[in-house]
Symmetry: C2
Subunit: 452 residues, 2 copies
């Protein structure tokens, strides 16, 4: 394998890495205009719309409009705005079956006036409308449910009601919920150590972490997700999980499971919150060990076949078919909203119990506030992290699932409201879009509460 | 790229090739026992059941139970019996959306006595029951509809009502039907030449073939699908369509479209039937050129969203996302039966017209009998091939879609019967399973007719 081949394969690995979460790319993010990391073009939601740019149109598409998994460009901006809807065509995936139960229709009660609801973006000097926030956040689709009915929906870019979008780190919250359900069923015990369930991890950092510490991400791991650092462990994680054939001289771990065995400890478990995707990968492994089933099948049986989903979801997988628990879910937006509504209903769907009420209460109570504070999220003051969910601890008791490019599932019990959003915000990391996201969600909740 | 890397990549190409149709592997096929080409083990349906063999079970699976796309073994027997249900996890794919319309339920009217219906396999000395034929044919799932109701269904191996199976050459019949529909809409003209629609093919064998000749596979092509010959053009076709990255020194065609441009003419068009998958690839290209849409989207809009399908189907794709028109469809068995029922109903689904009646009549009338006879299918005497469908010309007016490992869609208008079957017969090529397939279908039709 010569240098040129190595170069190509390193590029392949890099490209997969962008699947993962919590990037900290330095980009010039200014309000609703974004500069691509690789050029000086200033992109708006409109100019970066993949339908406008014509990615993959034509038979064959023109060479400069082709997006491939294997040349590293598929997750650069603006190509990424096409790729978020096309992971199935970019790499191997595994279905999360809705089985063959009928979809539960989402009843509509449209409130177009929501478009005019205004809010003050953080650090801004003038207010923004909900409608303006749609483009400012590079939204691909958003749905608002209120009292269980769809009061607002809007789609753009690559997304329609009938296709699927990368959920990225929203995935973690699905996996966390499954973990809590297995604890409730006594198939996992939150105080037991990981090595008791997964002997293969006995020599890794996870060995003496408890299930709870993994679920709340308070493990002490020598693991960096800093994509700017070529020596960061996240690159080895991505190389291990890449489903493409490995270079002949590749000696590293070849699967997610193999990678997890190489992680070393740093500091103590249980002290502070550290958002690291590999905790979710361990939880995914725990779930499969406890149930004897692939994560996709557990999600299908316990959740997806019971929420009245319209479409199968799917996960990206590694070379031996292991679903990427930390970020591999792709789903329809309406189905994401259905999932949120089930949680808002304390686990019920049409008089059928799907999730024990105590499981949801446990998540909503939140995690260790002090452990969270130590992680230094300046804009998420007073929040906590519990079982892979973000808990706002605001007066409405809102809690969230969050994905790296602005994907959100925002559940506001006080306002009886669910907001489900898929987005392809150019900056990877929610600190960039939170200023026009979180106050917008709060404003809609307040509006709906006042309207009642 | 050294010799070793080349070897690996050649293996990759070989492995994809097995997706294609009409293999003529020489194996010791004896009644319902089959010898794997790569060993002396005698496999039965029971001993080769993928659930019994434990492929891909465990987290991770034991090394000798792992099936990969990239090491060439995924389509060897018996691994193939797992792979036929797992193409989505083996390679990139593209959905055929059912959109969001409700499924049309398949009403049941079970007739368990069908199990005891007997027939005489060709060249056999004693009769076989329908139930025995299930295993003899390595059936993964079979459904019989009679008067529009499901009178029989049985699943085995990797297949359930809620997952999808490789349709392989059944795909061609879907594509042929779409071609006929576009002719009926005047978006394609059957007498026009291929080069008029696809200038890129002006220097290929297809240039002066008519749309009709391509649809009926009476083109004269210098193209061999003989898998036993390492120089056969089918290997170049497979290499071109392989979605994995190409070797650095690879100089051949890189996509299905590029491959088609290299095909040379041999003999005259319009003289004799020659079953060559690449005709369907050309028809897929024609369909996209005529509609401006990917084949998957055309199939979704015209058929899949209108037959009450329960699941999205999907196609395998090449490196630029071109669906493999010649054999890439994967679908649920119930949905395949729904498709067959729509055709049996002359294009109607629940009082809605899906396909013009004349289109189906045109297919059912059959193709050139003499052209077919020249192809020398000794066991299909009197049949013909029309628009990628196999027409039996028997007294019932039965017509079929056929896939290489025993996949069948058998539509018998006289008996008002549809049989949909997915199978993973070890011998690639229907000559091997026809002796226990075609007389079984006829016997069930006769039984149902007599019962009416």
């Amino acid at each position: 394998m010569n240098i040129r081949s190595k170069g190509i394969l390193f590029t392949l690995f890099l490209s997969v890495c962008l699947l993962a979460m919590s990037l900290n790319l330095s980009t010039k993010a200014v309000a609703n205009e974004q500069t691509s990391p690789s050029s000086d073009v200033v992109w708006t939601a409109e100019t970066s719309n993949p339908n406008v740019l014509g990615w993959m149109k034509g038979f064959p598409p023109p060479p400069d409009k082709i997006i491939r998994f294997d040349n590293g460009s598929y997750f650069e901006f603006p190509q990424m705005r096409w790729s978020v809807c096309h992971f199935q065509q970019l790499m191997p995936t595994q279905s999360v079956s809705r089985k063959l139960f009928g979809a539960v229709p989402l009843e509509k009660n449209e409130l177009p006036e929501l478009n005019q609801v205004t809010f003050m973006p953080w650090d801004a000097t003038k207010p923004m409308t909900w409608e303006q926030a749609f483009s400012a956040n590079f939204t691909d689709g958003i749905v608002v449910l209120h009292h269980g009915k769809m009061v607002y929906e809007k789609f753009s870019g690559c997304l329609t009601p009938a296709n699927r979008h990368a959920a990225m780190s929203l995935t973690k919250s699905f996996v966390g919920l499954l973990g809590e359900m297995l604890i409730a069923e006594n198939k996992l015990q939150e105080d037991r150590l990981i090595k008791d369930y997964i002997p293969e991890l006995a020599n890794s950092a996870f060995a003496d972490a408890s299930v709870r510490q993994v679920m709340d991400m308070t493990t002490g791991l020598d693991y960096s997700e800093d994509y700017a650092d070529p020596n960061a462990e996240v690159w080895q994680h991505a190389a291990a999980g890449n489903p493409l054939p490995k270079p002949k001289d590749y000696t590293g771990p070849r699967t997610y499971f193999e990678f997890l065995q190489t992680v070393k400890k740093k500091g103590e478990h249980g002290r502070s919150f550290g958002y690291k995707t590999i905790n979710t990968d361990v939880l995914g492994w725990l779930i499969s060990r406890a149930t004897g089933q692939p994560l996709t099948e557990v999600l299908s049986e316990k959740i997806w076949s019971k929420i009245g989903a319209e479409m199968d979801a799917f996960f990206t997988v590694d070379s031996i078919g292991t679903p990427f628990a930390g970020g591999g879910l792709n789903a329809g937006l309406h189905d994401l909203a259905r999932f949120g509504q089930m949680l808002l209903n304390n686990g019920m769907v049409a008089n059928q119990r799907v999730v024990p009420e105590a499981v949801i209460a446990n998540i909503r109570q939140g995690g260790d506030l002090q452990a969270f504070a130590q992680a230094g999220y300046s804009s998420l003051k007073g929040w906590s992290y519990r079982s892979m969910w973000w808990i706002t601890h605001n007066q409405h008791g809102a809690f969230m699932a969050r994905g790296v490019h602005g994907q959100s599932l925002y559940i506001d019990p006080a306002a009886d409201m669910v907001i489900a959003r898929f987005a392809s915000y150019p900056v990877a990391g929610n600190a960039a879009n939170d200023p026009t996201t979180l106050p917008a969600y709060e404003a809609i909740a307040d509006y709906l509460l006042k309207r009642d």
